[in-house]
Amino acid sequence: MSATAVSAAKPLTRPEMAARVARDIPEGWYVNLGIGIPTAVADHVPVEREVVFHSENGVLGMGPAPAKDAVDPWLINAGKQYVTLRDGGSFCHHADSFAMIRGGHLDLCVLGAFQVAENGDIANWATSENDTAPAVGGAMDLAAGAKRLWVMMEHTTKDGAPKLVRRCTYPLTAVGAVKRIYTNLAVIDVTPLGFVVRDMAPGLTFEELQARTEATLHVPG
């Protein structure tokens, strides 16, 4: 595995990644954004494009964070941050909220991940088989239940190890669930053929991208 510097390439910043994902979300979709990196996607969907954001704790039609002096202590998201509710928004209990997820009613879920495999397997909840106290939250429900699952993550670990792999080595969240991956280096579809590159960061070559990816990359054809 080559770890040469990406010379001419300009990897996307986190806000640029969020904006790139937001660009692909059409009006009318019901969308759940996972805790962590994906949460920022909402900030890049213009308010006039009506996308309905869902939070596992029974909030549908979630709006942005409130001003500091306008916090409603009864209104939090799944990350336990204060949020707002848009006009048209509603509340429900947990079983209904997860019926939206598990019943295939969400058009899209965007999750962070430790690893995604070329067969669409995702590992995003534990990094060891014997974690001291594993915490899964709603990740398995979201990964298995949404109509489409996109992953948003850095292309490699901080140490440069690939996160787009042939087979996940960490405990799985769901099998064959991921449809698309947005990283700081590329947009990649998961297809029956494997990983197909749809878009790359400015200045990056295909060879440089492959060098940072364990599984074989394909060009659209």
């Binding site: 909030v59 209104l75 947990h94 997860f98 598990r102 594993p134 915490a135 990740a139 239940g145 099998v175």
Partner: protein, 227 residues
């Protein structure tokens, strides 16, 4: 006359047995029945199985109950929090059992218990370690995992409004697990911010009908704070 209201915490907690499975509502601090949890601490039942989304924060509430050695097992989806020190210490020392359950499966297991459904199949967790040791079934080409219902002996619930028949409303994201837990337990105990006269809650606005509720205690504590 049906009157499910109780006037004291001791009345609210009466009869909770050692070894009981207690379902505790709330998601973060919102909709969490803190007064009832403190009442359970005071009441003294031990060897408890607690089902809740989280495993306690700091040294109060559920964390305090665990710290006192009263909880044998916790069933939850997310035992991490901003300050999970009590749970993690007990867990590492092997002094508390953990059953980790995907959040939607946790909600549905209680919903099923309340609806008289002992077993159901879900795609959540198929092909993962959550499915190990469980029955699986192929239905229309997809693999599903069998999950059992999760009935409680007791549910501790926080409502926004309640009346003497036990009809309840909840406030915003404070609804969360409360309605499904109210359905799933043999003894459902509610703390409510507002106690309404019978007929005062618009029937169209009732979230949990009184049939699922046994005791209502008026605890007008104000707003949730901290997670």
């Amino acid at each position: 006359m049906i009157d499910k209201t109780v006037r004291t915490m001791a009345e609210a907690m009466a009869g909770i047995q050692d070894g009981a499975t207690v379902l505790v509502g709330g998601f973060g601090a919102v909709g969490q029945p803190n007064a009832l949890i403190d009442g359970l601490i005071e009441q003294g039942a031990k060897d408890l199985v607690i089902a809740a989304n989280n495993a306690g924060v700091g040294h109060t509430g559920l964390a305090r109950l665990m710290e006192l050695g009263r909880v044998r097992k916790i069933i939850c989806s997310f035992p991490r929090s901003s300050d999970p020190v009590v749970f993690e210490t007990l867990y590492r020392a092997g002094r508390i059992e953990l059953e980790i359950v995907p959040q939607g499966t946790l909600a549905e297991r209680m919903h099923a218990a309340g609806a008289g459904i002992p077993l159901f199949f879900t795609a959540t967790g198929a092909g993962t370690k959550m499915a190990v040791g469980k029955e699986t079934r192929e239905i229309d080409g997809r693999t599903y995992v069998a999950e059992t219902s999760l009935p409680g002996d007791v549910a501790l619930i926080e409502a926004w409004e309640g009346d003497r028949w036990g009809n309840l409303t909840f406030r915003k994201s404070g609804r969360n697990f409360n309605p499904v837990m109210a359905m799933a337990a043999k003894l459902t105990i509610v703390q409510t911010q507002h106690l309404r006269a019978l007929g005062e809650i618009d029937p169209d606005h009732v979230h949990t009908p009184g049939i699922f509720v046994d005791r209502v205690l008026h605890v007008p504590y104000g707003d949730p704070s901290g997670f």
